[in-house]
Chain length 352, copies 4
């Protein structure tokens, strides 16, 4: 049983079928194929407006390209200090931007609060040549701790950065899970709330390797074609990504997958809470469950061969600090997670 990540399963069956179906015949290269074109239309429909769409194969590429298009080399990107762009991409944002500074901010559960952002901005002198200039705020939806930003929370963050003119980026590696959790429209938690550019994740939600940079204002998209090509992320057989997204977006398949993953996580969280043996590090709002595991629990899981990963405790709230021997265990559910697996895991945890 593997709860390590939502990127360890392959593609969902409909996505795999879409890839296979896309294999026939000749197609124009470098993203000029029919699949990619159709996907651009599907995204416009999904977001209820014109959008510029750039398909790539990894989330790191999507995030880094989005940032590089909107931030100068002497710019600063504000984000949570545990954000993927800050902590897990080996400096890719710095590489793509030409050396911009990623400024990490605190926040329980990897969520940023408007006053924390405003305080940081107040400490960064506008126009001073000695310091990098804040140009973008990046938030993760759902966060690295599985929490979800509500539309009004996003709007409040946008309001905090508006006086200084920062752009708002959303790392949506688990955007589908957030939409499914909130029951809102994609538009509501993106451009309607102030998001300028979105990394729309497919890979963690049933695709093999498919991410889309969605730029809401075409004026922000001008650099993307060159930045993408120059980074080696413009696939010659672009339909490989296009087909995956067509498979995902058709008939709301992407949301069905996310709802399933979320349901599995909720099932696990409920069972844990019902058992009353372990505490959740953060509320379960999307497809991840973070449990505070005493040593006994760690041993039990190891004995049962249940795979998960020990997660950073850096975003725990003050009142939730770990005791000696405890770790935060991350259990991620994906489209491929089975209810029986969740129940078996819950059973193991309940017998501690």
């Amino acid at each position: 049983m593997n709860f390590v990540s939502d990127n360890l399963a392959g593609a969902s069956a409909p996505v795999m079928q879409a890839m296979a179906a896309a294999n026939d015949g000749f197609a124009a290269g470098y993203g000029n194929d029919a699949w990619t074109k159709r996907v651009e239309g599907l995204f416009a429909e999904l977001f209820e407006r014109e959008v510029a769409v750039f398909l790539v194969t990894t989330g790191t590429a999507a995030n880094s390209l989005a940032l590089a298009s909107l931030v100068h080399p002497w710019g600063a990107v504000l984000c949570h200090h545990e954000a993927h762009i800050a902590a897990d991409e080996c400096g890719a944002p710095e590489f793509f931007t030409g050396g911009a500074k990623i400024v990490g901010l605190p926040g329980d559960g990897c969520k940023l609060a408007p006053d924390v952002v405003a305080d940081q901005l107040a400490r960064m002198r506008a126009g001073a040549v000695h310091q990098v200039q804040p140009q973008l705020l990046s938030i993760t939806q759902a966060t690295e701790c599985g929490l979800v930003y509500r539309p009004e929370e996003i709007a409040a963050l946008k309001q905090a950065i508006a006086p200084r003119g920062l752009k708002l980026h959303m790392d949506g590696a688990r955007f589908a899970n957030a939409v499914a959790a909130l029951g809102c429209s994609p538009a509501e938690i993106t451009w309607k709330a102030g998001v300028d550019v979105l990394s729309f994740g497919g890979t963690k939600n049933g695709a093999f390797a498919a991410e889309a940079v969605i730029v809401f204002d075409s004026a922000d998209a001008g650099q993307m074609p060159w930045r993408r090509k120059r980074a080696g992320h413009t696939l010659s057989k672009g339909r490989l990504i296009g087909a995956q997204f067509e498979g995902l977006l058709a008939d709301g398949h992407w949301l069905d997958l996310a709802r399933h993953a979320n349901a599995m996580a909720a099932r696990l969280a409920s069972a844990v809470e019902a058992a009353g043996k372990l505490r959740l590090a953060w509320a379960c709002e999307a497809n991840e469950v973070f449990l505070v595991l005493p040593q006994q629990a760690q041993a039990a899981l190891a004995a049962q061969g249940i795979q998960y990963i020990a997660w950073s405790d850096a975003a725990l709230p003050e009142h939730g600090r770990l005791q000696q021997g405890e770790v935060v265990g991350r259990f991620v559910c994906s489209f491929a997670t089975q209810a029986e697996e969740v129940d078996r895991l819950a059973a193991v945890l309940a017998t501690l």
Copy 2:
């Protein structure tokens, strides 16, 4: 009928099947999966030695990562002025290397001669801080004009750069076609002839998006894992590329595909020569035919809806310069090209 490029068809049936077969179950992420591990073994077998293998999805990424690992920002890369790295990658090598200089050299048919390389090196002062320092020679196999370097030609180039300590990179976007054409072993035209690092192309030869950087001396590979990750080219579901290569390398499938493509090109070239109406811009040595097309021929092809592209004439030999109205037409054959298509094209060309 589409002779525009060998990257317009999808994947060969066995490759597509390998991808589909790889879709089941969980697999370790970021290239630690079983497919990738097996492919590393297959490459070691293919090259008859230990090699370090780094899978990526595009040739631009493969080339740029290879260069960046071996060249300082103040280094220079020598190559043909029409080489893909110099002319078709939007400055990706400059991006990945941190601004190294790509120095373009002349050569008929995009082939470099040792004396041209040596002359260039003689013009670059060793140790002078005012000039970038030559650190790598990159050759393309087969060349952008469809010509093939023989093992002894490669060895002679290595000899030309050895006194200055340059590394030798081979852009093998059409490596399979070259191996098939030469009938030699992969080892013979790579490390045995002095190649230090190879971009082994899969995408133009039946894969969807699969390229491998093959590093022959592990001492040259140390930077690659970080450079790849940092460029967003480390796929979380790495088996997507691994499976493609497993499909390609199994049972010599990659060579079968290349032999077919070469045979189709040879069939076209022979027919053209037999008809005696058009001249070849360069000899047909691999899977591409370059024809000098007078206006009448261009019109006839357009009338028949036959697709090809007008190619640069910059690597034509002195005695082969174009006349007024002529263009060089590039006709590329791939694994998917049918003999009947070739014959129909040949028939059109024969009736001019």
Copy 3:
């Protein structure tokens, strides 16, 4: 009266004379002149060993070149979060290194403790491709809060980083003040304590624009000539910097200047302490005095036209936090500061 910074006076008289004296006749370009060569010898003497010396005009250039020579683009530099390289150079280290990450650590008075460094290293996984790799620790001597590292403190930091193989860089913008304060030899607080590369500051200590990167192991210096040239920091008339350093280093002039500046600061600190009206934010160990200024004091200073700057309170110890209305005022003494000026300032502060 101006206590804003030690870079607001011009050059000391002997330095200015050395510059004027260097103006005659022709001299070899680009650092091959006699002045630069002599200065290289003087530094070797000063540090009691062979050193590689690279002269530049700014501290930002010195620091950034030093870092870039020793850190990969995917490397991380540990330093205090208020260090000049982290907070005051507009991302120059990121620019020169190709996007390495500057990781800011806490520490009272901008001094780093070995356990803080070791804890940070423990959180950075060695060999993981998802994270940047720590490759260098940079400390500032004297610190941005005017404190001084003793030889054994530096050695302890070196010990903390040794297991992970990090290099140790010292930003010595106020190196002279530290040496004067400690009464030790330059060797003792640099290479003998584990420093690999030093930015030796001249500009804040009586030069006009003269900084030297001192590399103690020549194996670490190989990239510098190209990196410096490529950054536009190789002056054609290099004697302009060479002469300044010759003026500074002759007859211990640099130490005389620093001793004077330190004495002026000590005079001010003593007077403040004697008056008992204001508290020092940090101990006065070199040439800077940081005072906690209530609003009344700020008003009195403004009324007297006494210039200083409000300094960051981010490196204050827990027990020293500011009260409402207070600021930290930085008063810097330089070679040009007069005792009467100090006394007048002290008098103003004593009458609060």
Copy 4:
């Protein structure tokens, strides 16, 4: 006798005096001093319009900052293949621009012709993501072979690039010599002829280390303050450069120096032509004389201890190619060159 370069003498006496005079008292840091402010006014006067002025210490920095402010990382800069930015700055433009491509074009005497530029542009596809996009043309005034662009020649180049929207940069390392030679106003050969940004050289014309980037349209200057700081080129004691320029610009001193240097070169060229023993590689239009030197002449010069450098023959016209044993010798005159030195050199050359 040293004719190697115009950067081997120190500063002219008035410039040195201006530096010494600037040494008194405190001054605001980082270019906010009175000298820099006055120099900004002097440049506005000189160019008969508002200009944005950025002082730096080297020509490489001036050129690279100018380029980086106007060219994207995926942009291309067109220039002569022997231009300083292409051949003598160790890739600094690539470093500062984040990897833009420097595209070298041919031209006798390092002068570019409009049709050569237009032909190159025609070969670069607008909007194609596979290729870097031309964004700037850089010309050198006077050229690396000592030739001068006339206002109408500059205007014609501007016309050639206007349809593609390229900016026009002038590397004016020897701008003073060109103005002196042409007898025109600085405005006439810069913004009135279409130049957008100028590297105004001081160092080769009597300063110690003083260059100015002059931006004619303030909309082009927005990035400069950050790019300069981030490159370590914002001197804290900025008056060091400001004073040099004040010395140079006062009372037309800069033009007097250039006229003298030009006159010395003309004296040498006339003498050589009168003697009829040697041919000039290119016409003497500014302060440099390029002579085709047979082996006998090389030996005679060596015997007399006369220093010059062998120059590239790559920009010789077809009809002027070197014979076996010949080299191009470059003899540069500066403000410090004496008539007697010229005459002694001429005498040596006349006796061959």
